[in-house]
Every structure is written in C-alpha cells, then in structure tokens.
C-alpha cells in the first residue's frame, strides 16, 4: 500500500522456505487428511457447499436422527448433480431405518469436524490440549463460544463464564513447566493465561446507530473482567467483530484501559482487521494510544485479515453503501503487510506495543518475520497467531523455527459453536484460501510471492 517500504523479497522467500520446510507431512496425520478430502469435495461445488453449510448450521436444532436426516436430504435435494456418496445418502433417506443410520452418520461427521476447530466443550475438557500445546512450545488464547447475547441474563452468564475461565486458565497454566520463549519478551513478562472475549456477548445493547448504549452497558462487565485478569495475572484480549460495532468496541476498550485502576494491569489487547479500508486510521489510533499511556503492560495488537468479509459485503450491497472492506483479496493482503510494518516500526521506534500477527498465509507470516529482522528487532518482539484446526501445521512449523506462536482455541458446545464453525468452514473452502492453494500443491515461490 501507499508509501510502505518494500521488504526484500529474497528475505521473505528465505524465511518462508524455512517455515515451509518444517511443515509436518500429511502422512503423519491420517485423520487430518481425511477431513481435507471432505472439505475439498465441498469446495469444488458451490451448490453442494451451500447445502452442507446449511446442514451443519441446523444440526444442533434437530430433535432426533430422523429429523437430522430429513434436513440433510432436504438440503441435498436442492443440489443438481449428486456426487456418488451423496446419491447413496439420498437413497438411504427413503426408509425410517435408513434415515436413522444416515442421521447418525451425519451427526458423527459434524461432531468430528467440530472437534477439529473447537478444542472442548468446557475449559476443563480443553486442558489436555492446552497442556499438550504448551509442551510443544505453543501458547494459547481461549475463546468461549456462546449463543448470541440478546438479554441481560445472557450477558451476565457469558461474563460469569469468562471470569471462571480466567480462574481455570490461571490454575491450569500454573502447573506447567517454564517455557521462557512463551513467557518473556524484551518488554517484560507475558502472562501464560490468555482469554479472548467478545463485547457483543457482554451486552445485548450494541446498536450501530447508538454506540454509547452498548458501550455503557458492556463497560460494567468488561471492567469486572479486567479486574479479575489483573488479579490473576492473566491477559485479556478483546476481539473485534463486524463493522457495525467497531466504533463502540474501540472506544470502550481504549477508555477502560486508560482508567487509573488499570494502569498497572492487566495485560490487554485489541484487534486490527486488515480487510477494512479504514484500518490504517485505527492502527494509528492504537499506536498513539500505546505510546501515550503509562500502562505497565504494553498494548497487544492482534492483526488479522478479518472474519466477517461476506457479512460486510452483503450488508453494504443490501443497503447501497460503499463496501467497508477491500473487495480484492490482493488489496487486503497488501494492507496486511503495510499494517504489519506499521506496528513493527512503532515497536522498533520504542512504542510499548506488542504486535501479534495472526494469519495462515505463509507469505504474510514470512513477511512479518522478515520485517522484524530487517528493523533490527529480535524474533521474540513478534508474536504469531493461528487458529486451532486451520493453522495446526503452520503452528508446529513456526514453533520448530523458534518463533513465538499462540493458537486461538475456541471452547464451547456444538450449538454455541455453530456460527464459528460455519465461518471457519467457509474460510477453509474459499477458492481464494491460502490453505487451498497450499493443499493443491502450488509451488512455494508462488505461495510466497508479494501480493
């Protein structure tokens, strides 16, 4: 993007090659390969993809296996041509016994897929995964999935779950052995327990045309969580969501973090979405905030591509508004790199800020590492983040390269996780997905080419 200095492509290539060389081979993970096949099938056919998504979406609301099978065949009935496995399913649906068997198989399939992305139903269930990741040199940020918050009782319940999770995570991580690389950077200690929270779940009052309403209501619960995180020495990360709530969330978080009681903690972070056309302005605001406050903990800024692309485009088109996100993927990728540089330059210039680059795009990740080195920063001045289930191979490869990596781990039951799951599946089967390119054997030079 405009004005950003270009990183030496050779440097990016070198870093990228080294990471790529550390990717586990598919043969070592037979189950994973099976999943990829299923996703591959879905991504080849738009109608089939739509049918499968609609099915996955409705699974938690189905009352029994028969109901499940009726929904499945209802969706598949709208697909013009049936690949062989689906033709079999349609034949099975003719009898009650067939539907029960089909329903059971489909439910098992969805559960299996969900487990790939959702580490457990509760934080307790997830401790094994967290411990295992820690052993392998990987930190986590836990995200509690939930139904939409439309009542105060639901907001209270979510806040309570978050508070409990902070306690549980602190207890789990207290028992783990030291991992200096995950616990310290040049600016000081990094909390082990790390929780990501959503403002839309902390209040039923987020209204696009009245940001003050939701801000006021969420502030009470968020302040409690910040106190708890401070008390436990945990990190609290506030996620960004759709464009409708961006003003309320950015204002809320920065105002709260500036309150005197939080000057000495907790460690906290926000999210910057690179697909937004006006993200550079927010980046400037975040950097200015990090530089001007006297908070003891540097502000963590997680840079992501952004997960609500379809929603933003559809909403803008339905209303006749200009689209707030980049519509061409390369523009978004270039902006991601410009923002990466913006954050790292701030860090190199002495601003107490912790850039956390969250991407599964090997080029974006290699670029971040190369810029870090080019600016004379140490590798541990940079954090890399991936999503559980989508970035597993990249996560291992980054850890093997001695880079600090944190995996975003959603926790929750299937009903609660469905919206999350559908978004992840969409991302994974998108034709423009880096993961799809990678799976299809695109040459490494092409994967690492500048956007």
């Amino acid at each position: 993007m405009g004005g950003a200095a270009r990183t030496d492509d050779q440097a990016v290539l070198d870093v990228g090659r080294a990471i790529h060389a550390a990717f586990p081979s598919a043969g070592r993970r037979p189950l994973r390969a099976l999943d990829d096949k299923a996703m591959d099938l879905a991504s080849q056919d738009e109608e089939l993809k739509a049918a499968l998504f609609r099915f996955v979406d409705v699974v938690p609301a189905c009352r029994n296996l028969d109901d499940l099978a009726r929904h499945l065949t209802g969706f598949l009935g709208e697909v013009d041509e049936h690949p062989p496995p689906i033709a079999v399913a349609m034949r099975m649906s003719g009898t009650k016994a067939g539907r029960t068997a089909l329903g059971a198989a489909a439910a098992a399939g969805v559960r299996h897929m969900a487990h790939r992305f959702i580490v457990g139903e509760t934080v307790d269930d997830a401790t094994g995964v967290m411990r295992d990741l820690w052993e392998r040199g990987v930190a986590t940020s836990v995200d509690l999935l939930g139904e939409a918050t439309i009542t105060q009782a639901e907001a209270d319940r979510y806040a309570r779950r978050c508070a409990e999770a902070l306690d549980q995570l602190t207890a789990v991580y207290a028992k783990l052995p030291p991992r200096p690389q995950l616990e310290q950077d040049a600016l000081g200690p990094l909390p082990r327990a790390n929780l990501s929270v959503k403002v839309s779940a902390l209040t039923p009052l987020l209204r696009p045309d009245a940001p003050e309403l939701g801000k006021r209501d969420a502030a009470v619960r968020l302040r409690d969580l910040l106190r708890r995180a401070k008390d436990r020495g945990a990190h609290l990360h506030i996620d960004m969501e759709s464009y409708d709530s961006i003003e309320a969330i950015a204002d809320l978080v920065l105002e709260l973090l500036a309150e005197p009681e939080f000057a000495d903690g907790p460690s906290a972070g926000v999210v910057l979405q690179a697909y937004l056309r006006d993200s550079p302005a927010l980046a400037d605001r975040l950097v200015a905030f990090a530089g001007s406050t006297t908070r003891a903990h540097p502000l963590v800024v997680r840079l992501v591509k952004g997960a609500y692309w379809d929603h933003e485009v559809v909403e803008a088109l339905q209303h006749g508004w200009s689209v707030p996100v980049f519509e061409v993927k390369a523009d978004s990728d270039r902006n991601f790199e410009a923002l990466t540089r913006r954050l790292l330059e701030a860090r190199a210039g002495g601003t107490p800020i912790r850039p956390a680059i969250a991407s599964h795009n090997l080029r974006s990740v290699a670029h971040a590492v190369a810029v870090t080195r080019e600016l004379g920063l140490r590798d541990d001045d940079l954090e890399l983040q991936v999503l559980r289930g989508l970035g597993d191979d990249l996560q291992d490869a980054l850890a093997a390269n001695g880079l600090r990596v944190r995996t975003y781990c959603p926790v929750g039951d299937l009903v609660a996780g469905m919206a999350y799951l559908v978004r992840r599946l969409l991302e994974n089967t998108s034709n423009e997905s880096f993961l799809a390119d990678q799976a299809s054997g695109t040459p490494i030079e092409q994967l690492l080419a500048a956007p």
Binding site: D57, A61, E147, T151, E154, D209, A210, H319, G320
Partner: protein, 526 residues
C-alpha cells in the same frame, strides 16, 4: 423537450438509507432537527390550484411532547373538497396531454428535491409522528424510491403491450389516465405512503386531490411542496387538509374516478361501499386501490435459530411501537421450543429502548396520540385478564407512550388474537406443528404479512403453499418492504391485492384501450 429529457433514465435502484453506524451521518440528521426546531411550526395550508388557505383548526403536535406544535392546518369543508375536485378536473385535462416521459421527469426532479433535503424531511417525520431516526430516514428513502420507480414504470406502460398482429390490421393496447384520483393517506409512513399513491396517479397522467392524515398535515404539505417545486402543475395536484368529513366528501364526489387509500379496515370498507354508488351523472365506475390492516403472524418451527428469530420478532413487533400495518402481532411457535423462545423474548423486552424518537437507539417511541395510547392499554388489560402477561416495560410519563407488552396463554377466541392493535403488543401461542400454525393463520379474515422461521426447505415450501398472506418473509423480520424488491400489499380483507412498489401497481390508475386499425385499402396493405 430538452435533450436530457429524452435520455433514458438509469436503471432503478433503491435510495440508500443513511449509514447511521457512522457518527458523521448521525450528525447530519441532528443538524436537520436543529434546523426544524429553529423555525416556526409548519404552515400546512390547504392548497388548491394556486390558492393557499392557512388555518389552525387542526394542530399537529409532537407525540413525545404534546406541548410542542409541529404544524397547523385548516380543516377542509365539503365545499373546499368540491372546489379541489373541480380544479383537479381541469388540471387532469392538461396533465394527461403531457407526454409520459415528461411527467416522469417531473417525478424524478421531485425525488432530487427530497434527496437534497432528506435530513430536514426526516426531522419533520421525527417530530410530527415520533418516528425514530432510522425509520424516519427510511421513510424519506421510500418516498424517493416511489417517485423514481413509478416514473420508470409509467414510461414503460406508455409503450403499451405487444399484441398479436395479422396482415392488414394494426392492433395497439394503450393505457389512458382515468381522471381525478382521490388519495387518502395514513400518518404512519407520513411521507412515503402518500407520495407513493400520489406519484402513481400523477405518473400515469391523472390529477390528484390529496388528503393527508389529520395527525400529519405538515408531512402532507411538504410532499406537495416537493412535487409542485419539481413542476407538477398547480391544478394537477391539490391538497386538502382535514379529517373524516373531508375524506368522505372526496370519496363521494362523482367526479373522482379512482380512490387510493391506506388505513384502517373500517374506513376501507366504508370507502368501498361508498365508491360502489353511481349517482345520476357519474360517467364511470369508481375504482378503489385499498390497503388496510393485518393481524400478522410469525411461525417459528422447532428447528429455528432463536439467535436470529428472537431479535427479528422483537424488531418486527416493537419497532416504531408496532405502528406499521406489516408489524408482527402473533407468534405461533412449535411447542418444543416455546418455553425457550418465550424466555428469551421476555429477556429481550427488558432491554428494549423505549424513549423519544429523536434519541438514537430508540426502538419504541410514543404512539401517535392519546387515543392510541388508550387503545393499547385496553388490549393490554384484556391480555392480563384473559391470559398471562410475560413481559412489559416501564415507559416515560410525558408523551403518548404505550407500554410494550408480550402476553401468552390467551383463549382461542380472545379478541386480541383477531383484532389489529396497531401498537406495541405481541402474543405468543405454542402450536403442535407448522400445520397447526398454518390453520390458525388460515382462520384469520386478514392476510397482509407473515413470517416463518424454519431451516428445512421442504417445510418452507409447504408453509409458502398454505400461506394466504400478501407478503411472506422467511427467516427475517416481517417489516421493511423495499420498493421494487418487496412489492407490498395484503390479500383477503387486508386490501384489494394491489402491490405498492411493484411492477403492476400503475395498472390500477389507468384505463386500458385497444385500437385496431384496418390497414387494407383497395385490397392492398398500406
């Protein structure tokens, strides 16, 4: 005609609502309000030809602050109405000779006039009818849409239809204006609905006598101002302010050939009866284009996603205090999820934003007048007596606020399950299955809008086939029909089946005429 007038109009697209998630757009509306508040009340005169008659027999006030006068207007007498019709009759003779293309250009100019002043016009809706900002803005957009949409529609209609042709004869189907249209408008879409009916009549070459609702004379006046400023000849568009008496005089006048009405069932039925009379000397059958109320049901099947269904139901039932003919008033929910839905609905009620229309975020403003407040209270009492009130909400003391209410466990014959409340009241009934729900919908005499939350495509298709309503919405809120996208109007006793904002609406304002010419002369086709 200028060259620009001959150029094709660009393809219709809906006027974008303001992006109120941006602070700058909110600020723009507040400036519109400051402008309005800094002026004296609107002089909403009766405006017949070039003659303006001001008055203050009727005063519109802010429903949120009944002390604040928004507009003052006269109340037209039967003689005033007769005079307006007489002027309109002359106006119709000239206006029908203006080419369709030029009439369309006038409407498009009126749209531009409104677009330039949209924040001021929205502010007037906020003050005069207590429409919250987002809905007031949407009202102006819909008004602009009607002007643009019917302008294009009238040009297309003017081209006529292709007919079967054989050698030696030429067959043409064309559409002629009907004459004087009487437009009787409601207050709840105080600019969009009157301008929609008026624009349809004008676009097709008719003259209009418009009587806006007595609750919204100011809005009625400015929309006439918009059309006159854009070039509608004075005699072709006449405004009479008033109430029931003026409306009745307009309907009964033998020189009026078309009556376009949106409003209550009782008045609609009276208009249809009156319009059926053919007094001595009347040379036509009156045509009525009528949109009346509903008792709109939302069916929620067991597989519905309550994360989506609950907010959509709440907004369909309570936005603008339920004062939309499309608003949801009954929820028919599968018994398997009835308790979960009711609990979440009650929780969502607690966080409803009840307040003044000029406050961003307000969902439930005051209702339009004291009578409406009393009516809603009566039905709410009935609910408490005959069933169980699940949730209600405190309301401010000043202003005509009606407490939003959700009730359940009502007997099947409870009047509140059949009669239109036109206020913030929603009932919930558990049903065995969607067929049970469809039976209940089918038993209603009205059939305007309906909703369905369901994720099984077979069930969706089944409900669509069984549904009598004019507008059925699947997995979304049931209000907010957009011109060109959701042509709007009800069936059964909800209306004459006409679809405002649809491709065939203009046909109700014209007379078809077929001209067949023999082109054979001396055995030769010439």
């Amino acid at each position: 005609m200028t060259a620009s007038a001959l150029r094709d109009l660009p393809t219709f697209r809906n006027e974008p609502v303001l992006e109120l998630r941006r602070a700058s757009e909110r600020e723009r509306l507040l400036q519109g309000l400051a402008w309005l508040d800094g002026r004296p009340p609107v002089d909403a005169a009766t405006w017949i030809g070039d003659d303006k008659q001001s008055g203050d027999a009727n005063v519109s006030t802010d429903p949120g602050d009944p002390e604040r006068v928004v507009a003052h207007a006269p109340v037209a007498t039967a003689q005033d109405v007769a005079h307006a019709v007489e002027v309109a009759e002359q106006g119709a003779r000239a206006w029908r000779r203006v080419p369709a293309r030029e009439r369309a250009e006038v409407l498009v100019r009126a749209a531009a006039w409104m677009r330039e002043r949209r924040e001021k016009l929205a502010a007037l809706c906020v003050r005069e009818t207590a429409k919250p900002w987002a809905e007031a803005d949407a009202d102006i957009c819909e008004a602009i849409d009607f002007l643009e949409f019917y302008a294009r529609g009238a040009i297309a209609l003017d081209r006529g239809h292709h007919l079967f042709q054989v050698p030696g004869e030429r067959n043409d189907l064309r559409y002629l204006p009907r004459g004087v249209t009487g437009v009787i408008a409601p207050w709840n879409f105080p600019i969009a609905i009157p301008i929609g009916m008026t624009a349809a009549a004008l676009a097709t070459g008719n003259a209009v006598v418009l009587k806006p609702a007595e609750q919204a004379p100011g809005c009625g006046f400015v929309l006439v101002e918009a059309l006159r400023a854009a070039g509608v000849p004075a005699a072709a568009l006449n405004l009479v302010q008033g109430a029931g008496e003026a409306g009745r005089a307009l309907v009964q006048d033998p020189r009026v050939s078309t009556i376009a009405f949106t409003g209550s069932l009782a008045v609609g039925l009276e208009i249809i009866r009156e319009a059926g009379q053919v007094p001595e000397g009347q040379l036509h059958l009156k045509r009525t284009v009528i949109e009346m109320g509903g008792k709109n049901c939302v069916i929620v099947d067991a597989d519905a996603d309550l994360d989506d269904a609950v907010p959509a139901i709440v907004s369909s039932a309570f936005d603008y205090a339920g004062q939309k003919c499309s608003a949801a008033s009954r929820v028919l929910v599968h018994e398997a999820i009835a308790d979960a839905l009711t609990e979440r609905l009650a929780g969502a009620m607690e966080v409803l934003q009840v307040g003044q229309a000029d406050t961003f975020g307000t969902e439930v403003p005051p209702v339009v007048e004291r009578e409406a407040q009393e009516r809603v209270a009566r039905y709410a009492e009935q609910c408490a007596r005959q069933g169980r009130v699940v949730a209600t909400h405190d309301v401010p003391g000043a202003g005509w606020f009606a407490a939003p209410t959700v009730a359940t466990e009502l007997p099947a014959d409870a009047p509140v399950l059949r009669e239109e409340v036109f206020g913030p009241l929603l009932t919930v009934e558990p049903v065995r299955d969607v067929d049970d729900a469809c039976d209940r919908v089918d038993a209603l005499p009205v059939a305007l809008t309906g909703g369905l939350f369901c994720r099984n495509p077979h069930t969706v298709e089944h409900v669509v086939r069984r549904s009598p309503v004019g507008n059925l919405y699947v997995n979304r809120s049931i209000t907010g029909a957009m011109v060109g996208r959701q042509p709007f109007g009800g069936n059964r006793l909800s209306g004459t089946g006409t679809k405002a904002g649809g491709p065939d609406y203009l046909l109700h304002f014209v007379e078809p005429q077929v001209v067949t010419e023999n082109t054979v002369r001396h055995g030769l086709v010439i």
